[in-house]
Subunit: 316 residues, 4 copies
């Protein structure tokens, strides 16, 4: 039988590359304020991970003329699935190329999504191996919890702006096997946002309508932290560091996560989040939010700040 | 030596009377949603308390044509102090009268503050005596923790609108012995807000400038809850109950408390708060916030919603 | 190709039936103290669910002469998988029978696990449909959050005592497609405990060695709550209700969850837990804890109380 | 009228001196793991403070042959009160001496309490003045919150072992004006513990019966942190640092605080705590806990570990 991508054929979001025009400031910010750990450097890039990430890196910062996303990479569930899925993509007209020597993982198939976002699929992964004072006291954790800065546990999800939300939603569902969990649909057919999951989390990737009808832009990257109290603590750390907090902490209707948005020195929006819900029902139907729902603001009534709807990277 | 009011001669804010044009709805809201307990009824009033309040009541709801504050009552440290302080007030031209038969406490001296707010001083207090399933498991708590609704621990503070913030601040400092802890002063001499304490909490009473230059209006009443996580939980409870959340949860610069503001059915603004700081330094100097500070919004950058500056009860 | 059970063919633990010799007290406890909701009654059973459970019930309490587990039920990912998996079981010598008229779900295949525990597999599920004041304010939640009692979000996992941990581990891995996530192994080959998952949670089912070498006994059932602060609040609620707290709150090494164990009136051990970690790595290798690890106690050094190792239901 | 010490004549516990046979390790531990800040060094001592302490130091670590407490110092409410109180002590036979050149504060009167504990009273205080990246974003905080290590907010209280609890309780009540808030009394008259307060916190100083009938020993020193979630985070930090956790996190019956006890490298017991209750009632009567109460363990039933009753510094 011919392979069809199905739910959870992709194991998880593996890492994201962000472009930054201020590489030194961005690296210092992610290390000292966010509390990530440096895994290595190669060329114009610096690689980082959170203490609870099992892979060698989940964030790649690359020096560039402007801000924005370089690429996002998803780990396939197995080598066989990687072969099948990339074959499926090729058969269906997706043009991609294999990259064999990237930092931290094996062969990756890179291609563009419907809106032009660069996507990679890979399977082989280099794991983080703790040494010295990074060896954890708990055998089931990849690294000792590091009490400096915000110190989130792990990479959580990515949110992208799209000229065509529907096309992105359908591609990620049909070609990458993701589950559509929640949507914003105005006036019955105008897709303003789509949340998709490749795990039991309520989302791993989200697309929201680009205010300027630009293509392939980046909205934000999110690291997860264990408690909402940690998110509140993160807000204090960000204020004290002089970082710009755009909105939050507050609770999202969509995903029910407790969010905090800020800009890193290179201009990219980032989020620290906690909470949310897991989806155990295998027959989950997408939850649809309409214009009236959205007019009520976030979960506890906070009106979304206008920049949240308009600001993306790179700037248009 | 002649008595002069000094810090902590008033032990604490004892209770607050709120007027409500919807007495049944207000009582149901404070009992079922906020999670207070009814202590008794008399005349047009219903008396309530939080599970951690030692006194028989901390809130009096009185049926009335409009919303607003009936009076606020402070407990003197001792019977002797009550005598001294009321004598001091009388000597200094404050006209008041003794009320001998109020619910839940002994003789109270009632008078008007500089802005016309009704104030009572009393000492003798009727304590709550738990019976049946209200008897606490912990000998040092007045009542069993009651897991229904928001369930705050205790009354915390009151915030009043004033035409003349300076006069209020000076009266509460000089005649009631309170400590000025924080202030908002615009352009060097325009007093926009004053926070005063009669305990080691950073404030027990606050005055903020009335947007309409009205006199003697009420801004909000606050119950304290143990954790910020409880405040977040309260927000969900309020949303689910259909209550109007005005702003929050977020953190105040002033007092550093974690706040959540909402309106009870009668129209009065209420707050659930946690956190904040205690003042141990006996020589504390008032912290002054200026216009530039205020323009930055609340602690994590949230812009204060306009109604917070304009809405008070009764409506003007 | 012949069907082989694979990871996540079972969607999740669906519900658990507990026997209780004190049905009225057990029902009252789960409703008033734990804060579950009654879904219905049939015969000697009462059916309950947490506010965040999508199914009509996750707990069945059945009046019985003694305590213990009636059965545990797992929901298959699809009708096709249910057919395949039950076929696989039958082919491999597992004797079971189909039950067609159970409360809240479609046809279920009931059989005994290696240690004699009663297991059901089913697919068709009756969903909870909120009405009146149970309709949630959030479209992605099955029911309004109900602020009474402990109010956990959802059923999380089950822990069973076993005479033969190894046999149970292998059966749940090979016949039910579960992932072995963590193990306790003494002296290199003595299996004292096994944790298995059918989701991305670190476990959904656990087996620990029966102190008395009895077969098929029950250790505990766990409901999940969103924050560790909620677990602490649950401890106060339990103490005030007069329930017996066996141990906790504290953090498990295994699973890294924050636990609280108590006995319901019928004598069965229950847990309220929060936290823990998700497993995104598709190649996760079981974490092995040895005798020296266990001698150190729980995550922060708490020595496990002896009853935790010896007490199960029904009593031996 | 002759001066009599009264409640709150002492403003607060100012600082504590701990002896340590491992000064370098102790300093490193308090700075890197606990997250205190060094204020200065003089002679054999290193001075430290928490980020929320207004004074230049709250902890003095002094190199010594053994562990134990050097002295504890209380700040009088005013210079006048200091004069009055020391006069009162002298008139009542307490022999003390004035120390004029100590680090961080003005003239201090040093004397021994009934059990031989060294006590100082002082008024003039050197405040911490933040510079550079320690300048806080919030005008009402003494220093920027520092996200490294446990990072408690402030010194909270001290707990001392005493051969004669009753004598200590009476002296701190009568000569220092403290309020007795809670007590442990066995068999109607055997005083096993006394908690006293000079603030509205439920205690600032505690005495518990020395298991060995030794005199003047030290039990523990406590720093306060804002949330119970922070205490749980502290437990992880301590485990990962290799520190010895003696007991907790759990909740005390007495004071209702959420505690975590550990030993610093010099052997002295320390505590990180949060929560608790404030006493607003000016007529508070001491809460008496008896032997039966104590047999029930801590608030949620944890049996107190035996070392907690027997271990003090210096060792006997």
């Amino acid at each position: 039988m011919t392979y069809q991508p199905s739910f959870q054929d992709i194991a998880h979001l593996g890492h994201v590359e962000l472009f930054t025009p201020k590489i030194a400031e961005s690296v210092a910010f992610f290390k000292n304020v966010v509390g990530l750990h440096e895994s290595g450097r190669r060329g114009d890039s610096v690689f980082l991970r959170a203490w609870g990430d099992y892979a060698l890196h989940t964030l790649q910062l690359t020096s560039s003329k402007t801000s924005g996303m370089g690429h996002m990479a998803f780990r396939a569930k197995s080598a066989a699935i990687l072969t099948e899925m990339t074959g499926y993509l090729t058969r269906n007209g997706v043009q991609g190329k294999w990259l064999d020597h990237e930092f931290g993982h094996g062969p990756a198939f890179r291609f563009a999504g419907p809106d032009g976002h660069a996507i990679e699929l890979y399977y082989e992964t280099e794991r983080f191996v703790p040494t010295g004072d990074q060896v954890p006291g708990f055998r089931n954790q990849p690294q000792r919890y590091s009490p400096h800065g915000i110190a989130p546990r792990r990479l959580d999800h990515i949110n992208l702006l799209a000229k065509d939300v529907k096309a992105c939603r359908e591609f990620f569902r049909d070609a990458l096997g993701m589950r559509v969990t929640e949507q914003i649909v105005y006036d019955g057919d105008q897709e303003m946002g789509a949340w998709l999951s490749t795990t039991l989390k309520s989302y791993d990737v989200a697309f929201t309508k680009d205010h300027y009808d630009a293509r392939g832009r980046f909205h934000h990257l999110t690291y997860f932290i264990d408690s909402r109290e940690d998110v509140l603590r993160a807000a204090d750390i960000l204020v004290e560091s002089g970082a710009f907090i755009e909105t939050g902490p507050h609770k999202h209707n969509i995903g029910q996560t407790f969010f905090l948005y800020f800009y890193e020195p290179g201009g990219n929006r980032c989020e620290i989040a906690s909470g949310g819900y897991l989806i155990f029902d295998p027959d989950w139907k997408p939850v649809i939010w309409n214009k009236e729902d959205r007019a009520k603001g976030q979960a506890w009534g906070l009106q979304t700040v206008s920049t949240f709807h308009t600001y993306g990277t790179p700037p248009v």
